[in-house]
């Protein structure tokens, strides 16, 4: 048991479990939704990724843990395959999840954080997200097969059938309201709302955390400056969400669960919603302790835990380490490599990708394609920055402290 706890602690180092989550998500889609084409195409890609992890793990211990976990998940998903969407399998997975959670509650450190009143809704959210993701993908899987077999999605078979609002809809709503009222009353009687001592501007708590739904943004502060993590990226999240119906021109899958007909849209959305948004919130809530240091779920929140600050800027890597020169005085020259990389990333990458992804470019048209690519590149920026931090201790690509412009 202690070994397992240590395993999970090391594994949950934020950046790497993030990568694991993204790749596990890709595998989930690959093995369980797009079954049939698994063994032929691209399946080797996952094995190659695993092999890279093993080699890297020989140098960095957490990566070896990651590799082990990765192959376990790969094996399990390949074994289960589309059977993941059978209610029986889903039920057992839920029982396993709840059981694992219940067992973990015996650990004093885990209990302390999971049972904190304001964190209770987030624990509930984790399970709700898992359940509803499973339901949505199961329905998508069933509909995909119906369409493949030449039929129509389940929702269409009954779309002509109309019911009277009274009694069918009204009663459903009534039951929902009664149920919700009971849940709210029991919850409110059973769990007191947190109230700490009176506000005191002179004594700041450690860690000082934003309200839980903004903890994903606070977590991004580790990798980006506040102007990006706190202002630009949230704005882009809102703009990006609003742009979805105008970027996505695929007329299929309107009003019913489906995956195969719109795998790119769903893939990107789930990556943003589950990995970028929800997982970062969970990390910020449960895994970030004093001084915003990282703690595994079974680790004691030691306020004296020290983490060496060894991060360096790209300018230093290029000029000092690589070219053995002093840093240029003028910031335009000093930061030229970083500025160039960022410009290339946002300007050239979409243009280069337009050839291999010609299908998208032709279908969407220029403006849609570029807006979509721009937003997608922003979504990818976080894992890229995480990997750079992990591999090179990179702090900033561009660091112009003269005008607070750091990327």
């Amino acid at each position: 048991m202690t070994f397992l706890k240590n395993f999970i602690n090391v594994l949950s180092v934020a950046s790497i479990s993030f990568i694991l989550l993204s790749s596990v998500f890709a595998m989930l889609v690959y093995f369980c939704l797009l079954d049939g084409r698994v063994k032929t195409k691209g399946g080797t890609g996952f094995l190659v990724f695993g092999a890279i992890l093993v080699v890297a793990g020989l140098f960095v211990r957490p990566l070896l843990y990651l590799a082990v976990a990765y192959f376990l998940v790969l094996w399990a998903l390949a074994k289960i395959g589309p059977r993941l969407w059978e209610p029986k399998v889903g039920k057992w997975l839920l029982i396993a999840g709840l059981g694992g959670f219940a067992l973990s509650m015996f650990d004093p450190n885990f209990y302390l954080i999971a049972a904190k009143p304001d964190n209770v809704p987030i624990v509930a959210m984790i399970f709700l997200l898992a359940i509803f993701t499973w339901i949505a993908l199961r329905k998508a899987y069933l509909n995909d097969h119906a369409i493949l077999a030449g039929g129509i999605p389940y929702e269409k078979t009954e779309s002509d059938e109309k019911l009277f609002t009274w009694p069918d809809l009204v009663y459903t709503e009534m039951l929902c309201m009664i149920l919700l009222t009971i849940v709210m009353v029991v919850w409110s009687v059973g769990l007191r709302a947190p109230l700490e001592e009176a506000a005191n501007p002179t004594s700041s708590p450690n860690p000082a955390k934003a309200p839980w739904y903004f903890l994903g943004l606070q977590e991004m502060l580790v990798y980006f400056d506040p102007w990006l993590a706190g202002v630009v990226l949230p704005t882009l999240i809102i703009v990006g969400l609003m742009a979805i119906p105008y970027i996505d021109t695929n007329p299929k899958g309107n009003g019913y669960y489906a995956f195969r007909e719109r795998k790119w849209e769903i893939g990107v959305f789930l990556y943003g919603f589950l990995v970028l948004w929800s997982f970062l919130i969970i990390t910020g809530t449960f895994l970030r302790g004093p001084n915003w240091n990282f703690f595994g779920p079974y680790e004691y929140w030691d306020p004296n835990k020290l983490e060496p600050l060894v991060n360096v800027d790209l300018s230093e890597l290029v000029w000092v380490k690589l070219m053995a020169m002093p840093l240029p005085k003028l910031w335009v020259i000093r930061e030229a490599p970083g500025i160039l990389i960022v410009l290339l990333y946002f300007a050239l990458a979409p243009a280069l990708a337009a050839r291999p992804f010609r299908r998208f470019y032709l279908k969407m048209g220029g403006p849609r394609y570029y807006v979509g690519a721009f937003l997608f590149l922003f979504m990818l920026a976080l894992p890229i920055k995480m990997v750079l931090r992990w591999l090179f201790n990179l702090k900033y690509l561009v660091h112009i402290q003269e005008i607070f412009f750091n990327i």
């Binding site: 059938e161 809809l169 919700l180 609003m242 009003g255």
Partner: protein, 260 residues
Amino acid sequence: MTLKQVQEGIVNSQVWKSIFRVGIPNTNRKRVLAVLGSLILHLHPVKVRRSGVRMSYTWCMGGTSFFLFLVETVTGLLLMFYYRPTIEYAFTDIMDLREQAPFGIMREMHRWGAHAMVIAVWLHMFRVFMTGSYKPPREFNWNVGVILLVLTLLLSFTGYLLPWDQLAIWAITVGSNMARASPGAGTEGPMSSLMKLGDVPLIHAGDDARFALIAGRSIGAATLLRFYVLHCMVIPLAAGFLMAIHFWRVRKDGGISGPL
């Protein structure tokens, strides 16, 4: 007198009939009239798609969000009887509410309802995406929904400060510090230092984006009042207005989502 007679007596009385004009909706005609004749129920069409009633399709999350909004409104109104948004009283009023008010679960319900509402709105968005219900002709309503999501978060954020305890001010401090970094509008934002007239900086701690948000250089009495007004009046009214549009457009764009 049997129970049946009592029931009929009530249903046929003038008082009952004046309230529920149709009587018990036991024929199709009366079912139609029951929905059409009621202000609340006529939010719904007379007939709905089969999938619109199916819980496994809608997850009932839009309705849950709205219901929780109503819960928040009612519990919030009750809390307003007890709560004064000033530094002297805010915290002690909450203490009173906790220790003295009879059946004092309104604050609990308000807080847990707020958390639940955020989660319900997310799940609602998730369902709408997964069923492709943002596609034409529902693009605009998806946008209204995104704004409602942002308003939900802002409602929760402004409410977080009101208990005026350590949890409250530090969470809002961390949250509002970000505004300091707004490009061109916060003291520590990129490009802000370039904005000056001669030697006089245009963006400083006394006029930047953070100052506008919290009404001062640090969280204080003015912030509390500002967040209180935003929390109890401005944002709920805005959200209520947008909800009306949202529900209206659900009907106008083809009813509760289903295959088009």
